[in-house]
């Protein structure tokens, strides 16, 4: 292994001091003189026609400067694909979910704006709603969008190998129905932005994890060229996909109000608005059919997915793609059929969330594999080791794995005390479960996919680093600076990373699909090498050597094997910048994919650049009287290629696992005729410090050839593996298989009652 100076070291985050002192500015921390506040009026009905909106009373309230409704956006709508642009900034003719945005007010302060929204009178004609995807698919169900039949928002199919023949050849075939919960990302910073519209166009300081999405949306909505759209990224209070990858009503309304009034306009959603309207994970029904040989060899998997899409399409088609295309990992699977249906309902919109698409089907497949292992009398560890893919590997749908630490991860877990003592502890209600997962990193979609980096060498040897990549908390600013510093052999504090400003930084797709470290990292590496190349030419001339003989390390540049021929990096920078009449040293780089196939319609090819592998143990303690379950320990053996900053990789994986634990045991929206009954963090049951175990992370180091310094993704694999690991542990503790998430104490209690009743009867 090559010895690096900063790569692979547990280095504090570059933004840590700003964050611990409260100096880090988030969107809602920005204020400007003359600034107005924008507040949104939301629908009290889940499905209703808007007959009339009377804003006159609101307009007359002192302090109110403007009021807008859906009609002010002239029919503009947005969406993931040209044929799915079904969502308006504010509802126009119809509301399709409760709390959908209907009108907005700009006023001199937040209180006045809020008061004014209550003075807007909207006449609705309530329509019958549909709140269950299986009901919504039936003929005669209420129609949510006129442009589709049976409320089918999207469908996606894959068929590889010969599934029917394989089931015929299987010694055991199981069919089960699984269901995942209605869960939300759970960032603590509600969406917020300050908008300014002036002669230069639009400036938006917004809480966005993909600032270039809103940049395109605003250009389209306000009919301006992209060079007039300036989205500036403050610190972002986490994202996890969905809402902060997208635009929200407040963005469009604030910009419109600023255009009308000439004043800056700010909005900040309340947590109740977040929990009643934010994009959430699709809840899915997974009908899974799995066939195996007696020795535990996996032969075939067939799954039918019914996904609740909520009221609009958003990024749902990609969810349907991933939920199928990624099921062919992490085990050898020669025959696979996948039929996915995304169904509109009168609920808030489902979209991407960390572990996008994969959490659902992997949960079903892991549990079903355990069920079959139990029937066959095979140890859950052995059945996974038997089927685990090994690199190099190409799945039946053309997903190529170049590095894989799954077998090593499973073997590592096998040797832990937790696994060794499984079933041997006298404590009743104790259980240990195992699961494995794979997740893509360096996600690919359709359209512009490249990350870019621009490095500007200053004459004192420091560097300005412009990137379009967004650190929404995951730590990418730190790891990207590590990469630039490593390449140039300089200190991290000599690299100043700039946050996104679309007027200055290069275009970038944003933070999703674990793409930043891999793709923005590749761009950073290339840009640093571009600087090195230019500097090497100056140094080579000086020392009369070839440019490739020069080494950049420890703040110095020297001739390889001749450490005496050396000068400080800063001196070389000065010489280069002052050469002749003066030079400009800029480093450029952008990530590039190969030209390998990727078939969006068939689920064929690589949805990512590389794939992480996770093996996980979870240990639970169940109170067999009350049904209260606690996860008391969990161990992740995680292959992220090479952890470039182990401290932050562990923290990411721990966070992903705890978010997954929330989905397994605690979290879920309780919906009643379209109304969210638990729109608070406490009642939604996001885990607190007292609910979670210590999470141990063991690095399984592989070197991925396609990652910068060998890196792959971290944390998305862990949110995928946690729910099945926990549910498998619950089975070990109670003898009961739970197939519906979250597994609440109530579900455990009643299942135990039923089991004990059967026993005594």
């Amino acid at each position: 292994m090559e010895e690096y100076s900063v790569i692979g070291k547990p280095i504090p985050r570059v933004d840590a001091v700003e964050k611990v002192t409260g100096a880090a500015k988030f969107a809602a921390d920005f204020s400007f003189p003359g600034m107005l506040w924008c507040k949104i009026l939301r629908s009290p009905y889940a499905h209703a026609r808007i007959l009339n909106i009377d804003t006159s009373r609101a307009e007359r309230l002192p302090g109110v400067k403007a009021v807008c409704t859906g009609k002010n956006f002239n029919g503009w709508t947005w969406g993931f694909m040209p044929q799915t642009r079904d969502e308006p900034p504010l509802a126009v003719d119809k509301v399709r979910y409760m709390a959908e945005a209907v009108a907005a007010v700009a006023a001199i302060d937040e209180e006045t704006a809020e008061q004014a929204t209550e003075l807007i009178r909207v006449d609705y004609e309530e329509l019958p709603g549909v709140f269950d995807p299986e009901e919504a698919m039936k003929p005669g169900a209420p129609v949510i969008h006129d442009y589709v039949q049976n409320n089918q928002s999207w469908e996606f199919h894959m068929d590889y190998g010969d599934v029917d023949k394989a089931f015929g050849e299987s010694d055991i075939v199981r069919e089960d129905r699984f269901e995942t919960g209605k869960v939300v990302t759970g960032y603590l910073e509600p969406p917020s932005a300050v908008a300014m519209y002036d002669a230069n166009g639009i400036t938006l300081w917004g809480a966005k994890q993909s600032p270039y999405f809103v940049y395109r949306h605003l250009a389209a909505c306000f009919n301006l060229p992209l060079n007039k759209i300036r989205v500036i990224q403050p610190f972002v209070g986490a994202g996890f996909g969905g809402t902060k990858n997208d635009s929200v009503a407040g963005d469009f309304c604030s910009v419109l109000f600023s255009k009308w009034t000439g004043r800056p306009v700010k909005f900040a959603y309340s947590m109740e608005e977040v929990l009643t309207t934010a994009r959430r994970r699709h809840n899915m029904i997974v009908f899974s059919k799995m066939g195996m040989k007696k020795d535990g060899t996996l032969l075939a998997l067939q799954q039918k997915i019914i996904a609740e899409g909520g009221a609009y399409t958003a990024i749902g088609p990609l969810t349907m793609y991933l939920t199928g295309a990624m099921t062919t990992l992490p085990y050898n699977l020669p025959n696979f059929r996948h039929d996915a249906y995304r169904i509109f309902t009168n609920h808030p919109v489902s979209a991407a969330m960390r572990g996008h698409g994969v959490t659902h089907t992997r949960f079903a497949a892991e549990i079903q594999m355990d069920m079959i292992a139990e029937e066959l009398g095979i140890d859950p560890m052995d059945i996974r080791l038997k089927n685990a893919v090994k690199a190099p590997h190409e799945t039946i749908n053309g997903v190529t794995v170049k590095s894989c630490g799954l077998t090593e991860g499973l073997e590592t877990l096998r040797n832990t005390e937790s696994w060794q003592l499984r079933g041997k502890r006298a404590t009743s209600g104790r259980g240990v479960g195992l699961a494995a997962a794979s997740y893509l990193g360096g996600a690919r979609q359709l359209g512009h996919q490249s990350c870019a980096a621009l490095l500007r060498l200053c004459e004192d040897g420091t560097v300005n680093y412009l990137t379009g990549a967004t650190d929404c908390g995951q730590g990418s600013d730190t790891v990207l600076v590590q990469m630039v510093a490593e390449e140039l052999g300089i200190r991290m504090e000599d690299v100043n990373i700039k946050r996104v400003d679309t007027a200055v930084t290069p275009c970038d797709p944003g933070s999703y699909g674990s793409r930043v470290t891999i793709l923005a990292g590749a761009a950073a590496q290339k840009a640093a090498r571009d600087i090195k190349r230019q500097l090497s030419e100056f140094a080579a001339r000086e020392w009369k050597v070839q440019p490739d003989e020069l080494v950049f390390r420890g703040g110095k540049v020297f001739v390889k094997d001749h450490p005496d021929r050396s000068m400080p990096f800063s001196k070389l920078a000065k010489i280069a910048c002052y050469s002749g009449s003066g030079a400009v040293i800029l480093g450029r780089g952008y990530s590039q994919y190969g030209l390998e196939r990727y078939d969006w319609d068939k689920g064929l090819g690589n949805p990512g650049t590389s794939y992480s592998f996770t093996a996980q143990l979870a240990e639970v303690q169940v109170d067999l009287e009350t049904g209260v379950a606690r996860c008391e320990d969990t161990i992740l053996a995680h292959d992220c290629g090479r952890p470039l900053n182990p401290l932050n990789v562990h923290s990411q994986n721990q966070g992903g696992a705890v978010q997954g634990l929330g989905q397994a045991l605690y979290e879920g929206f309780i919906m009643d005729q379209g109304k969210t009954r638990n729109p608070t963090l406490t009642h939604y049951k996001m885990p607190l410090s007292t609910d979670v175990p210590r999470v141990e992370v063991i690095d399984i180091i592989t070197e991925d050839p396609d990652g910068p310094f060998g890196a792959k993704e971290a944390s998305e694999g862990c949110i995928v593996s946690t729910p099945p690991a926990v549910v498998s542990a619950l089975k070990d503790a109670t003898g009961i298989w739970f197939k519906t998430l979250p597994v609440t104490p109530e579900k455990i209690y009643w299942a135990l009652q039923e089991k004990n009743g059967t026993k005594s009867g």
């Binding site: 611990v20 409260g22 603590l188 966070g655 963090l681």
Partner: protein, 159 residues
């Protein structure tokens, strides 16, 4: 409007406040101390935690008029960039934060906890931050950070 007198981070202030204004609004909008955050506005998330007369409070649940005559410490008063408080230093070294939105509240709760329990058990740390949600870290690194700060502070005290 009513004028109140309040000491914030050691500095005496005279501030005009509305009857409905919360302490959080006052410190963010009148004093421009934006470290404390509004996450939920209903006392659940803990991102707005400050110390009032020596005790942690959710500043979104306290009216500004209730702070009249009292002493407030916000994250900005815990330490400075030049001289971090040991809890802040430990959060930096142990990566006790990701996005940083809950961090001001965590730092304030952490310093308060160590005042009450200079040598806390892991369970006491967990309970000390049980009023502060964090979605990014899964809490492990935050608990480690506060534990490390306790260790460093006691070493400092002995020397």
């Amino acid at each position: 409007m009513r004028q109140i007198e309040v000491t914030v981070n050691g500095k005496q202030e005279k501030i005009e406040v509305r009857p409905s204004e919360t302490l959080l609004e006052m410190i963010r909008e009148k004093l421009h101390l934006t470290g404390a955050k509004e996450g939920c506005g209903m006392g659940e998330c803990g991102a707005c935690t400050v110390i009032m007369n020596g005790v942690t409070v959710n500043s979104c649940l306290v009216l500004a008029v209730e702070a009249d005559g009292k002493s407030i410490v916000t994250v900005e008063g815990v330490g400075s960039k030049e001289k971090l408080h040991p809890v802040q230093q430990a959060f930096v070294e142990h990566s006790g934060m990701q996005c940083g939105f809950c961090t001001p509240g965590m730092i304030v709760s952490g310093t308060y906890l160590l005042k009450k329990h200079p040598q806390p058990t892991e369970q006491q740390i967990r309970e000390g931050i049980a009023g502060n949600f964090c979605r990014c870290t899964g809490y492990t690194k935050i608990i480690e950070s506060i534990g490390a700060a306790a260790g460093n502070m006691s070493e400092g005290g002995e020397s």
